[in-house]
């Protein structure tokens, strides 16, 4: 079984720099981001966009994050009117503005290697006849579909409660009107299905399967368009996730909680927990139960966890992390169990322990007690272990001297600096001196200075 790929919407990280949001989202264990182009995150009208795109693309690939581009920013185009203008605007120039923005989004998606560009219809002005609104929508979508086709990017049109196209019937009507083009896919919001579709969310997934390019997910109640954290609404997530697996969906399943930016890291952390629990194979559920009554069984369960849930290494790692989260205890006590598993583990087990640290730390369960594991991993010459060690836990817990050495070791081993958490925050003149000395040694030897180091020394250095 291939694991579903969970992502998180950056519109739920509106109070974070994009770079920091990516660090947290990857650090928690997400596989992707739904990236909302907005004033603070890849503003498509900002100067220097091209260079920023190169940087973000590099960072996404280093962190192993997939991406979809979302275009639902509230006040990006018009500071006075939310979500305006839309493709349904009565004024041609204003419609053209939306289309220009969407076209830029397609090009950005292409630069980022993103899997889809999401868009919605908008709400027609009161008084505009429905037929006219549909004509405008078809016209705009047709133009954009052509742009997308030429750029090799798939669109994901999203039915949005309250808008002209609010449900799957509306999407199918629009798709037909466009002549059923391949590039015109569907973004399905699972919460919206609960809010207003006739079918259950799981049945909506089955119905939409042929066109699905993007999934947004959150909880919701019938008839109330409010994006809720998992467990606060009425959606039956196991059945939805099961349906996504059944239909062989390979895209991102990204959490859409745009009103939770104030608590983004905690909300994202709880959300991933909920999604993993709701999609866990039976083996995992059983193993977690067993850990509840017999915590010592971890030494037997942990090594076999990956192959017990199938051949997908990502699912194997996620499963191991779930087992670690199910362990009782905190602080030094929990850290000593982690140390035992790490010491007795093969490389994949060690990496799973390292990747669980930011989650356990975020839950306030290990603090600095597991620092020894990171130190051990940093002593190895295995680039995979070193890359797993320089995540958010190291950024938070290593002292400055250790942390600088870790960064330099990454350069030495060829681990991309884009995987290093907190580089911008913790970087200091001494690290800059070390970078410069490293470069000087290379130049003296007539050898190449790695691009990562060149960029650190000179932000204007070509990629």
């Amino acid at each position: 079984m291939t694991a579903l790929r969970f992502g998180y919407g950056t519109n739920g990280f509106a109070n974070h720099r994009l770079d920091d949001a990516l660090e947290v989202i990857a650090g928690l264990g997400y596989s992707g981001v739904a990236l909302t182009l907005d004033h603070g995150h890849l503003d498509p009208y900002a100067p220097g966009l091209v260079r920023q795109l190169t940087r973000v693309h590099r960072r996404l690939s280093a962190l192993g994050l997939g991406a979809v581009v979302e275009t639902g920013a509230r006040y990006l185009l018009d500071p006075w009117h939310k979500h305006a203008p839309t493709l349904l605007d009565p004024e041609p120039e204003r419609r053209a503005h939306r289309l220009d923005f969407l076209t830029r989004a397609v090009h950005i998606a292409s630069e980022l290697g993103a899997e889809a560009v999401s868009l919605w219809s908008g709400t027609p002005d009161p008084g505009m006849p429905e037929e006219e609104a549909w004509d405008l929508l078809v016209e705009g979508c047709a133009a954009l579909t052509e742009v997308a086709r030429q750029s090799g990017v798939r669109l994901g049109f999203e039915p949005e409660p309250g808008m002209l196209v609010a449900d799957l019937d509306g999407y199918e009507r629009l798709r037909n009107a466009l002549g059923d083009p391949d590039a015109f896919g569907l973004t399905l919001d699972v919460g919206h299905c609960r809010c207003l579709e006739y079918d259950s969310p799981a049945d909506c997934v089955r119905r939409a399967a042929p066109w699905l390019v993007n999934i947004q997910i959150e909880d919701m109640r019938r008839g109330v368009h409010e994006h809720l954290e998992f467990g606060e609404g009425e959606v039956d997530f196991p059945s939805v996730l099961q349906a996504l697996t059944e239909v062989g969906y390979r895209g991102l399943v990204a959490v859409e909680l745009p009103r939770h930016s104030h608590s983004a890291p905690q909300t994202a952390w709880r959300s991933l927990d909920a999604l993993r629990a709701a999609s866990a194979p039976p083996w995992t559920t059983k193993a977690r139960d067993q850990l509840g009554s017999d915590p010592a069984s971890i030494t037997r369960l942990f090594p076999v966890a990956a192959r017990s849930v199938g051949p997908d290494p990502a699912l194997g790692e996620a499963t191991r992390i779930q087992l670690l989260q199910a362990l009782p205890g905190t602080g030094a006590e929990l850290a000593s169990v982690l140390m035992e598993l790490y010491d007795g583990g093969d490389t994949a087990e060690r990496i799973a322990v390292l990747r669980a640290l930011p989650l356990l730390d975020q839950a306030g369960r290990v603090e600095a007690h597991a620092k020894g594991l990171v130190e051990d991993a940093l002593r190895t010459n295995d680039a995979r272990l070193v890359a797993a060690a320089v995540g958010p836990y190291a950024a938070r817990r290593l002292d400055q001297e250790q942390w600088r050495q870790a960064v330099l070791k990454c350069v030495f081993l060829g681990v991309p600096l884009d995987v290093v958490a907190g580089l911008a925050r913790r970087r200091d003149p001494e690290l800059d001196r070390m970078f410069a000395a490293f470069a000087a040694e290379r130049i003296a030897a007539g050898r190449q200075v790695p691009a990562d180091v060149r960029r650190q020394l000179d932000p204007d250095s070509p990629a």
Binding site: S61, P303, T380, V415
Partner: protein
């Protein structure tokens, strides 16, 4: 062509060997645990070794486009040393690991009681953990050792199809052929078995249940003798299909019985590939 070396001790070899093996078509191998050429003096020396077989060595192999799996055990020689035998208590937790595809090398060296105890116990561990067993046959008094080996295998209740009896020669091969166990041949520069002798055995016994390995280690040995044997097979009129069966499909079938042989795709026409570098950066020297 593609080669699976079912028995080779890579911890004793250099990266030059990995490079040459890759160029010759080796895409996967199994490294069984054995002794170091000098005695170990503690259990810790074993666990460090096992950890390397599960961590650093597969990583090293991957840098050269070779998939590395291992077999773990207390080897026959050190089964006689009471400083080493307590490693048997550590083995069960190691046999759970994903990249362990067999218990081995087990079997006889001097045919002592201690060796027999460890052998029987480890056949039992193989059975319990659902792993096949890789059995070493002694270098001296081989025929007697092989006969006793087959008796113990039979008594253990592990299916003969889950046992590979290794280091066979002209004298011992008929015994093993009749037992239903798999037949392993270690091709050495001039001792255990040579490519030309191997070809004659294949002509006599056919290609089924036969595995060819280099068993290369820290001694006089050659990791490319699997490749040389393939060439000798072709020169003697064996087809590409026969060569692929002996040097790839047979070892894959044997170790796949573990349920843990997760091979990344290898095309039948192995081509040099260099895709295993980490994120496009070479870590071949473990740093530069």
């Amino acid at each position: 062509m593609r080669i699976f070396d079912p028995h080779i001790h890579m911890t004793s070899r250099t990266t030059d060997d990995y490079r040459a093996m890759q160029a010759a078509g080796v895409r996967a191998l199994v490294e069984p645990a054995f002794w170091l050429g000098q005695p170990r003096t503690s259990v810790g020396s074993f666990t460090d070794y096992f950890d390397a077989l599960l961590g650093w060595e597969p990583y090293r192999a991957a840098q050269y486009g070779i998939q590395h799996f291992c077999a773990l055990a207390l080897n026959p020689k050190e089964a006689n040393d009471e400083r080493c035998s307590p490693v048997l208590d550590e083995l069960p937790r190691y046999l759970l690991k994903d990249r362990v595809v067999a218990v081995g090398e087990i079997g006889f060296d001097l045919m002592t009681e201690a060796e027999e105890r460890a052998f029987i116990l480890q056949l039992g561990l193989a059975k319990e953990s659902g792993l096949p067993a890789l059995v070493h046959t002694p270098h001296r008094d081989k025929a007697v050792g092989t006969a006793r080996t087959l008796e113990l295998v039979k008594a253990s209740g592990i299916g003969p199809g889950r046992v590979l009896v290794d280091h066979l020669n002209e004298v011992t091969v008929p015994l093993v052929a009749d037992s239903g166990c798999w037949m392993g041949f270690s091709i050495y520069p001039d001792t255990k078995m040579t490519p030309d002798r191997m070809v004659r055995i294949l002509q006599d016994h056919g290609t089924s249940r036969v595995l060819v390995n280099s068993a290369a280690d820290w001694g006089h040995s050659d990791p490319l003798l699997t490749f040389v044997t393939a060439s000798a097979m072709r020169a003697a009129g064996f087809t590409e299909n026969d060569v692929d069966q002996v040097l790839w499909r047979n070892p894959v079938e044997f170790y796949a019985q573990s349920g843990r042989l997760t091979l990344d795709h290898v095309s039948e026409v192995g081509s040099p590939s260099d895709t295993s570098e980490y994120a496009g950066n070479s870590v071949r020297r473990g740093g530069s």
